[in-house]
């Protein structure tokens, strides 16, 4: 690689392929251009379209769950007869457990994680750091194609005997360990574990690639503290993946061994489950929970930090104002990531682990709320004194901030162990993580799609449709999820096929029915997004290079950028947030614009040599 230490001199030409096909001019055929492409932009768009489609799969499953909670055992409209014709067309309790398990699985492993790292990470990293592609383009292509065995296995698991996995996305043993524990603990669970391993491999390939690319391939002048927050988010996420994922992968294999090879990592001896032969050996069920959350707590930040980065970019751009507290933003993101590794036990307060350990996890969890608060205040600071433009990306970003506050605050109740005794495994938890994962991350993603769409396809998405989609989604979202806080306070447990069996919860049925109507509204609103996306791809207003008057490097490239991205290697003079700079008349100042009388402390050529 000639690109490890790029200097303006060596990169002055177009591309710099020495043995790399991606820098050279050639016209690849259809297959290598659009299917097995090694171009990061194509891979990013492949990830985006795949994950958007998966969003509908996951959403469909969620509506099934909501139907059952509103009208337990009542005939499921449209699909009921198809799936449960033999049992009165209502959802069976087995299928109910499958639905919420696979809903979470699809949303986490096939939507949120790959849409952030896979779609936006791929598309934006090279463009925002001024590189012509990723460090390892073939690895990058493989990371996309490793998603497909996972999608296929998850899908196929619905058709094997016993059906798809039904032990929750957390797959706690012994339920997920002993084949006889539930119909779905057979083949379906094994396929689930295999599929999660594939997703893990895919993420890992991305992670290695992103770290290498961001460290080595920044344009001349692009120091670490001139990186956009999006890149910081992607970079820190990649590090989190690299350290956390191996633990999940190993734990997954241990569970597979327990299931297929007769080891007993996670089951104690002498258990008789559903009349199966008693287990032998001496494992520990809690071990899985520790290993699982050691990955999955950092993973919730994997599902958030890139969105935080993208939203920071959007907020600064449409406030037409520099990002408030750039360094505190970077440091707090790093703090979240670091602390994220020592809080996993907050998912286990009632699990029976040592209560003294519970206290330490409580303290670290309280502390992780701090950088989240700091970020929120800095976002408000960014908008304060700005000249706010309410574009679709901006309103989605504002929703991100507002919803993140709700999710962060509900976290405090759960971090406090005594209240968590009551809230654990109730709808309070469900409210919490939907506010952070949907309210924050997904609104951030909706905003980002609209924001970077012109760069992806050279056309604008419709603002009107975008606003309509936003309003309906926002109303549907809050109508569905806000009442969950109250359900949680009422003690309403999650994962029950028919909570109204319990007289204490009987009176919550009408509320649940109302929530289901909002969920249906929200589901239908997503077709507006789909339509806007595909319609604008062909019929949208043509976009220039920099339709939003933004500062980042990606906006210096053509829309859409050709193979190799930039006509000439960009040279960077400043950070990406110099909006309203007094140096220039326009209210934005691109990273690449040279200003003669600017007081620059660092000479870009010098930086290039030290990059």
């Amino acid at each position: 690689m000639s690109t490890l230490n790029p200097t303006a001199g060596t990169l002055a030409g177009h591309g710099h392929g020495d043995g790399h096909s991606h820098g050279a001019h050639h016209n690849p055929g259809f297959i290598s251009k659009y299917i097995f492409s090694t171009d990061h932009k194509v891979i990013g768009i492949q990830f985006l379209i795949t994950t958007l489609l998966m969003l509908f799969v996951g959403g469909g499953l969620a509506l099934g769950v909501r139907w059952q909670l509103a009208f337990p055992w009542r005939e499921l409209p449209i699909f009921g007869r198809l799936i449960f014709g033999s049992q009165g067309a209502g959802i069976s309790p087995e299928f109910y457990t499958m639905m919420f398990t696979m809903h979470a699985t699809v949303m986490i492993f096939l939507v949120i994680i790959p849409i952030l790292a896979g779609a936006f990470g791929n598309f934006l990293i090279p463009l925002q750091i001024g590189a012509d592609d990723m460090a390892f383009p073939v690895l990058n292509m493989l990371s996309y194609w490793f998603m497909w065995p996972a999608i296929f296995l998850f899908g196929a698991s619905f058709f094997v005997e016993g059906g798809a996995a039904a032990g929750g996305w957390t797959s706690y043993p012994p339920l997920s360990d002993i084949q006889q524990a539930a119909p779905a603990s057979g083949m379906g669970q094994t396929l689930w574990l295999l599929a999660v391993t594939f997703v893990g491999v895919s993420s890992m390939m991305g992670s290695v690639n992103y770290m290498t690319t961001i460290i080595n391939m920044r344009a001349p002048g692009l120091t670490l503290f001139r990186l956009p927050m999006t890149i910081w988010g992607m970079f820190i996420t990649a590090i989190l993946q690299a350290f956390a994922l191996p633990v999940l992968t190993a734990a997954g294999f241990m569970l597979v061994f327990d299931r297929l090879l007769g080891t007993t990592f996670f089951v104690p001896g002498g258990l008789v489950v559903n009349n199966a032969a008693p287990t032998v050996g001496g494992g520990q069920a809690l071990l899985w929970q520790h290993l699982f959350w050691f990955y999955s707590h950092p993973a919730v930040y994997i599902m958030l930090l890139p969105a935080m980065g993208m939203v920071s970019d959007i907020l600064a751009c449409f406030s037409r104002k520099p990002l408030f507290g750039y360094r505190p933003m970077v440091y707090s993101m790093a703090a979240i990531a670091g602390l994220g590794f020592i809080v996993w036990g907050h998912h286990m307060f009632t699990s029976g682990m040592n209560p003294a350990l519970g206290m330490t996890f409580m303290v670290s969890t309280m502390m992780i709320a701090l950088p989240s608060a700091v970020k929120t205040f800095n976002w408000l600071g960014t908008m304060w004194g700005g000249n706010i433009q309410f574009t679709v990306p901006m309103i989605n970003a504002i929703a991100f901030v507002s919803m993140f506050v709700v999710g962060g605050l509900s976290g405090i109740w759960m971090a406090s162990v005594p209240t968590d005794i009551y809230f654990h495994d109730t709808y309070y938890i469900v409210a919490h993580f939907h506010y952070v994962l949907f309210g924050a991350t997904l609104f951030g993603v909706f905003g980002s799609i609209q924001f970077w769409f012109p760069k992806m396809f050279g056309r604008m998405m419709s603002e009107r449709l975008g606003k309509l989609h936003f309003i309906l989604t926002f109303i549907g979202f809050n109508g569905t999820f806000f009442p969950m806080h109250l359900l949680g306070i009422a003690g309403f447990p999650r994962r029950l096929a028919d909570p109204y069996q319990y007289p204490v919860f009987e009176h919550l049925r009408p509320l649940n029915q109302g929530m289901t109507y909002f969920a249906i509204l929200m589901g239908f609103a997503q077709f507006i997004l789909l339509f806007n996306f595909f319609y604008s791809m062909f019929k949208g207003k043509k976009a220039g290079r920099n339709p939003w008057n933004a500062n980042g490097l990606e906006w210096t490239a053509p829309s859409p950028p050709g193979h190799g991205n930039f006509e000439s290697v960009p040279v960077v003079y400043r950070g990406p947030y110099e909006y309203a700079s007094p140096l220039v008349e326009a209210d934005y100042l691109m990273q690449t614009t040279f200003v003669a009388h600017e007081d620059r402390h660092i000479d870009p050529d010098q930086i290039a040599h030290h990059a």
């Binding site: 539930a182 489950v273 406090s416 096929a497 309203a580």
Partner: protein
């Protein structure tokens, strides 16, 4: 149109507050005041955190609303060219840190009271009223014979029920929680008690029901397809009634059907 967005976000925040405000009146709230002293402490903590987070929520959204109103875009206007403020960063790091630290320290005691064995009522701990064993999909309860102490291994004169746990009211009692197969969770919503049942572990759980009353016992940890129907009941009774119940239980359980025939 710009004002619209300010109103939109402010209205949603106001609705959120209203929802919490009307929740109790609509029955969307705790299932009654906590029916146990520990539960009362948990509720107090809940309301304290509600106050803190409520103020934060309203504060942040008031500021957000102000921003969206005041700084909404105008043609020809230019933003402040400002990159941050060291003072503000310090203030908004220290203040939340202090508040969070306060919550962290403040609640430790309740947690210790719930889970630290040294803080249990020692007499109750020495004389658990029952062993509760969860299995798919029921609660099996094993009481020691009246006047005896619960042993780790089943005794010939132990008494058994299913899904029907009785306990004396008005004093702390301890049960030993176990699982025979997968994970379950022993959840008494009215008493604010929750503890997972883990195969391989025997976990002592204490609770105290203020009122002699029947309370729901809910399984709160996914345990398979029939999880939803794993429903039990806790009946708290005055000590005398409880003793009578145990006696009756013993009689029915060891009734061999011959006694009455012999009397005739």
């Amino acid at each position: 149109m710009n004002r619209f967005w300010c109103l939109f976000f402010v209205a949603s925040a106001v609705l959120a507050v209203v929802f919490f405000y009307i929740g109790p009146a609509c029955g969307w709230w705790f299932p009654g005041v906590a029916a146990s002293p520990l539960g009362q402490q948990i509720d107090d903590l809940f309301y304290l955190i509600l106050a803190i987070t409520g103020v934060t929520f309203i504060g942040v959204h008031a500021v957000l609303g102000y921003i969206l109103w005041k700084f909404s875009g105008k043609e020809g206007k230019r933003s402040d060219f400002q990159h941050g403020s060291h003072t503000l960063e310090v203030v908004w790091s220290i203040v939340p840190a202090g508040v969070l630290l306060f919550i962290a320290l403040y609640q430790m005691d309740v947690w210790a009271a719930f889970r630290m064995k040294s803080r249990f009522d020692q007499e109750a701990l020495a004389n658990p009223i029952a062993e509760v064993t969860a299995r798919q999909f029921e609660w099996r309860i094993r009481y020691p014979a009246p006047g005896k102490v619960l042993q780790d291994t089943p005794q010939p004169d132990d008494l058994y029920t299913v899904n029907d746990l009785h306990a004396p009211a008005g004093k702390p009692v301890v049960i030993k929680l176990r699982s025979e197969d997968v994970l379950h969770s022993f959840f008494l919503p009215h008493l604010r008690v929750k503890q997972d049942a883990v195969p391989g572990l025997v976990i002592p759980v204490w609770f105290e029901a203020n009122e002699p009353k029947a309370y729901d016992l809910v399984c709160a940890e996914l345990c398979g397809w029939g999880h939803y129907k794993m429903r039990g009941q806790l009946t708290a009774q005055p000590q005398a009634d409880f003793d009578a119940y145990m006696k009756k239980l013993k009689e029915t359980q060891f009734d061999d059907g011959f006694k009455e025939a012999a009397d005739e």
